[in-house]
């Protein structure tokens, strides 16, 4: 015991500065590596526009700042504020429904001095709230606690689904569900839910999905049916990736992407540019970086001080994975097209800031730990 304390002490002394800044070095290194990768690909995908790279750099700067700020907030504080955070978020979502601004057929924005998307807040508010709720209960949760948690997840999910924003509602549902999963949800419930889902799917299809969403799924099942419409994306991105081969065509040399066959090539479909120009090797490097970040996130969560930290940390980490899995899956033709960016690589979007905020929370979990136990 004495040995461990002194080891911890020397440990603390050696990296005291970064520790006091609440920075987790391995996680930071992983994130920075992804950002560099992003700038390279955005430069190429954006038609070699330095202005685009500059704007992306500004977003990364903002993301890192938000991360640093959130890392200063102790998990305990976060937990205390969770209910308020959540209620305000729900309030904004309701406000969007009634007063929101529409763009491209969806009502997602609200203007209170600054224009923002409340669903973005909920990406953090939902897992924080569910974790705060379950952390005080005995785990695994009882049926009653389980029901309450599900309500906490489903309420915002439904509100976002009717905006409509399928991608985001899916992410939020997943983040809430992950908290419950890590809280020890029994396997039979999980299997049961999957069964219910299969039964509910056709009902959802007919009653809640918008035409364009149905179109995407149909196109996914048979992209050749609409080669110049929504199937175009999938076919073209697969050609781009496939023609990249093992080594890729080289940076700035992707003919598919440079020839503008690929739509949205610097945002949601940026993975295709990466696959074409950097080949399988580039993709392996990207996935390795992602895996490293996820491993570090789970490792930090495992060491979490209390149930709240552990549940939240692990759920945020897995949500990050959902992002990349869904995006790569859709660009490679494995999943229907939903509007989700490739995390930390795609150009633009508020997603960078939200993602970096969740990494800030992870850093807080990691660095507030030993300070308390000392």
């Amino acid at each position: 015991m004495a040995l461990r304390t002194s080891a911890a002490n020397t440990h603390k002394a050696r990296r005291s500065l970064l520790w006091r800044l609440h920075i987790d070095v391995p996680l930071l290194v992983g994130l920075l590596a992804l950002m560099v990768f992003s700038l390279l690909v955005v430069y190429s995908a954006g038609g070699e526009s330095l202005a685009l790279v500059k704007r992306q750099l500004i977003r990364f700067g903002a993301g890192l700042t938000v991360m640093l700020l959130l890392a200063q907030v102790a998990p305990r504080t976060l937990k205390e504020w969770a209910p308020l955070f959540f209620v305000v978020g729900i309030g904004f979502l309701l406000a969007v429904l009634f007063f929101g601004e529409s763009s491209k057929g969806a009502q997602r924005w609200i203007d209170i001095g600054v224009r923002f998307q409340p669903s973005e807040i909920m990406k953090l508010a939902v897992p924080i709230m569910v974790a705060a709720y379950l952390a005080d209960k005995a785990l695994p949760p009882t049926f009653k606690h389980l029901l309450v948690s599900l309500v906490l997840v489903i309420m915002p999910t439904v509100l976002i689904m009717i905006q409509p924003d399928l991608g985001t509602s899916l992410l939020i549902a997943a983040s809430g569900f992950f908290v419950i999963f890590f809280a020890g949800l029994r396997w039979r419930y999980i299997l049961g839910a999957l069964g219910v889902g299969l039964i509910l799917a056709p009902i959802m299809w007919y009653f809640t999905m918008e035409e364009y969403q149905k179109g995407r799924v149909l196109t996914f099942l048979n992209p050749e049916s609409d080669p110049l419409g929504s199937g175009y994306h999938i076919i073209q991105s697969q050609i781009a990736i496939g023609s990249g081969g093992i080594y890729g065509k080289g940076w700035l040399n992707g003919t598919q992407s440079q020839l503008e066959f690929l739509p949205e090539r610097h945002t949601d479909f940026i993975f295709a540019v990466l696959g074409e120009e950097f080949g399988l090797i580039g993709i392996i490097i990207l996935l390795a970086l992602y895996f490293f970040v996820i491993w570090r996130g789970l490792y930090i969560s495992l060491q979490g001080q209390d149930s709240f930290s552990r549940l939240l940390g692990a759920a945020l980490t897995l949500t990050f994975f959902v992002y990349l899995f869904v995006n790569i899956g859709m660009v490679s033709g494995l999943l229907p097209v939903v509007g989700l960016p490739l995390p930390l690589i795609s150009y633009g979007g508020t997603s960078i800031v939200t993602l970096m905020a969740s990494f800030g929370i992870l850093m807080s979990i990691q660095t507030h730990r030993r300070l308390h136990s000392a």
């Binding site: 685009l52 990736i241 066959f261 495992l302």
Partner: protein, 650 residues
């Protein structure tokens, strides 16, 4: 199982359960990543050949089609800027295997300078590789024929006919129309910044320029770039393996830019240019229509031929333009000069309005003026003075300096600054040219911040005769003249009168923005205008010789500016020290007196006295416009009216 109201937390069990779940999650993550990798492996390794072929055979390509640039016309519909088709040697970088080799071989056939090569490579570097870029323009017929016989040796290279801007009146309009230039990397960045400012998706504006290689760089071409450019179209084309277009599948027509019709009168513009050339002077003349603020003519001499820039100017040719005469410099909008005596009418009006003088005020004129308790003498241009005492009207007609030294001290710099700002000095005239300068309408604050010195009374004395720190552009001077002609109403100056697209005409609105100077006691203005009328009349008017026997009544004011340097911010002509000390000749005026149709300002660098040099030119300009141009118009109008009347009678 017993129902428990509150279960007890079992920390050890929770921790181990969490550990297990994390491991499971990590395994699932790893598994799904492998699943993704298997998919990419399938696409990139197993099916690589198939996709490789598909990528190469991706025959359908969308290519941008450039819109036709809007034309520019004068007020009577004469074409001032048109598009002419020329032949250019163009390269599609993507289709060239060895660019160095291709260029080297092309240079054996054609005369292509190092500079053209450098420019071409620079342009290609930052723009899509599948577009076509010119390495040499203005090919003649022989060159076109020579290339067509050996085209097959040059994959990716072709001779293309392109529309290029052409200015039929060349140098006489360059300082109005401006010119075009190649789109640079800086331009592209500016486009992106514009997208950001207008919260458009980045790349929107670039997309608009996808098929365009030139854009407006100066003058109207630059100011109205947005209107003139039009909207890009697109063509879905089928290409062969080399990327050559086999056939067009679909075409979305580009939308031509808007045409612009100017207030400008081509004849007047050319007449003024010719007069200034004959005199061989540097300078600027601006003529405006007082009732609208429309610019009838804007000449800056010397000038240059903007068509030289069309095919990309070489640095050798460009260097030729960098003479001490500075033809590139637009004196009408960028030149800032002391206004000298031309602003005496405005100061007199201000003195009357503010009540510091009356029509009966008389000032002793021994030929000089001095401030109380100071023996420095500010000299009048007439060494022995204009008489024992001088009144305001005589002071304007004979351009008496002593009177205005005295008046400026009575007004004080604060009043002068405020009053002259209302005439538009120290401000932009609103003219539709980006390069416009504002000159200096000095004030205490200005001197403090620009020079770090307090304002002295001596500074005010100099201001009284339009010297000292006060500088104006010829545009401002013409505008301030129009204000007098127009009884105090100041319009924004405008070159463009209306835009036309698909036969729909749309007026250029901002011209209506104006400022009304307080002229509630009309006698102030009448006195000033009357004095200006007498400037062009015997016995004492400073412009009486120039306006002798005029067939109309004109009002005017001469000015002769002492020049220390051509303008404070110019530094070029160290070689011309001697000439640099010659006075600038100025004249402002309007006519006809009762119903002014034209107001103008003439500014001639180092030409000598205003009365003997600038006023005669003004006379010829007014003669031309009032007696030749407007008479013709009137005849036409009269004819039309007669016809209408006859028609009605019948």
């Amino acid at each position: 199982m017993l129902k428990q109201r509150e279960a007890i937390k079992d920390v050890g069990r929770e921790t181990s359960m969490f550990f297990v779940r994390c491991v499971i999650a990590l395994i699932i993550v790893f598994g799904l990543m492998i699943f993704l990798l298997v998919r990419e492996f399938k696409l990139q390794v197993i099916e690589h050949n198939k996709f490789q072929t598909q990528s190469e055979n991706n025959r359908i390509r969308v290519q941008p089609v450039a819109p036709v640039r809007g034309l520019i016309y004068d007020q009577s519909g004469k074409l001032l800027a048109q598009n002419r088709s020329i032949f250019a040697l163009e390269i599609v970088p993507e289709q060239v295997n060895d660019m160095q080799d291709t260029i080297a071989r092309l240079r054996e056939m054609f005369d292509i300078s190092d500079e053209q090569v450098a420019k071409f490579l620079e342009q290609v570097k930052f723009r899509p590789k599948f577009n076509s870029y010119a390495i040499k323009t203005n090919l003649d017929e022989r060159e076109v024929a020579v290339f067509s016989t050996s085209q097959h040796f040059f994959p990716g290279v072709s001779v293309e006919a392109r529309l290029e801007r052409y200015y039929p009146y060349a140098a006489s309009l360059v300082h109005v129309l401006g010119r075009m230039g190649a789109i640079t990397q800086d331009d592209l960045i500016r486009m992106d910044e514009k997208d950001v400012q207008q919260s458009k998706e980045i790349g929107t504006t670039r997309q608009r320029y996808a098929a365009t290689s030139k854009m407006g760089k100066l003058g109207l071409e630059r100011y109205y770039e947005n209107e003139l450019h039009g909207e890009v179209g697109s063509e879905k084309v089928e290409t062969d393996v080399r990327g050559r277009v086999v056939r067009v599948l679909e075409r979305e027509e580009p939308k031509a830019g808007k045409d612009i019709h100017l207030y400008l009168h081509l004849g007047l513009q050319r007449k003024i240019t010719q007069l200034m050339k004959e005199k061989g002077v540097r300078g600027a003349v601006v003529a405006v229509e007082p009732s609208t603020g429309g610019v009838l003519a804007m000449v800056s001499q010397p000038a240059y031929d903007p068509n030289m820039f069309t095919g990309g100017i070489s640095s050798k040719e460009y260097a030729k333009l960098l003479t001490p005469e500075r033809p590139l410099y637009n004196r009408a909008v960028q030149g800032t000069y002391p206004p000298a005596s031309t602003i005496k009418p405005h100061l007199a009006f201000l003195g009357l309005k503010d009540g510091v003088i009356t029509p009966n005020t008389r000032v002793a004129d021994p030929g000089w003026f001095s401030l109380p308790n100071n023996d420095h003498r500010y000299r009048d241009w007439k060494a022995w003075g204009h008489g024992a005492t001088v009144g305001v009207m005589q002071a304007i007609v004979e351009s008496c300096d002593t009177f205005f030294y005295d008046l400026s001290v009575r007004l004080g710099i604060n009043n002068i600054h405020e009053g002259m700002t209302q005439f538009g000095f120290g401000q932009k005239t609103g003219i539709d040219i980006v390069e416009e300068k504002v000159g200096i309408m000095p004030s205490r604050e200005w001197k403090k911040s620009a020079r770090g010195e307090p304002w002295y009374n001596g500074d005010t004395v100099n201001i009284g005769i339009g010297q000292g720190f006060w500088t104006v552009t010829p545009l401002q001077l013409a505008n301030a003249t129009a204000v007098l002609a127009n009884d105090g109403i100041r319009y924004n100056l405008q070159l463009a009168k209306e835009f036309a697209q698909d036969n729909v005409y749309e007026a250029n609105t901002p011209v209506m923005a104006y400022h009304q100077i307080d002229t509630s006691d009309g006698s102030w203005l009448d006195l000033v205008k009357d004095s200006m009328k007498r400037v062009t009349e015997p016995p004492k008017g400073t412009a009486k010789t120039a306006f002798a026997d005029a067939e109309y009544v004109a009002a005017g004011k001469t000015g002769t500016a002492q020049v220390r340097s051509i303008a404070q911010d110019e530094e070029y002509d160290a070689t011309k020290i001697a000439e640099k000390f010659h006075d600038n000749a100025l004249f402002i005026g309007y006519a006809p007196f009762e119903q002014p149709k034209i107001a103008l300002a003439v500014m001639m660098e180092n030409a000598g006295g205003g009365g003997s040099n600038a006023a005669p030119i003004a006379r010829e300009i007014l003669d031309y416009y009032l007696l030749e141009v407007l008479t013709i118009n009137q005849a036409e109008t009269a004819e039309n009216q007669e016809e209408t009347a006859n028609g009605a009678a019948n």
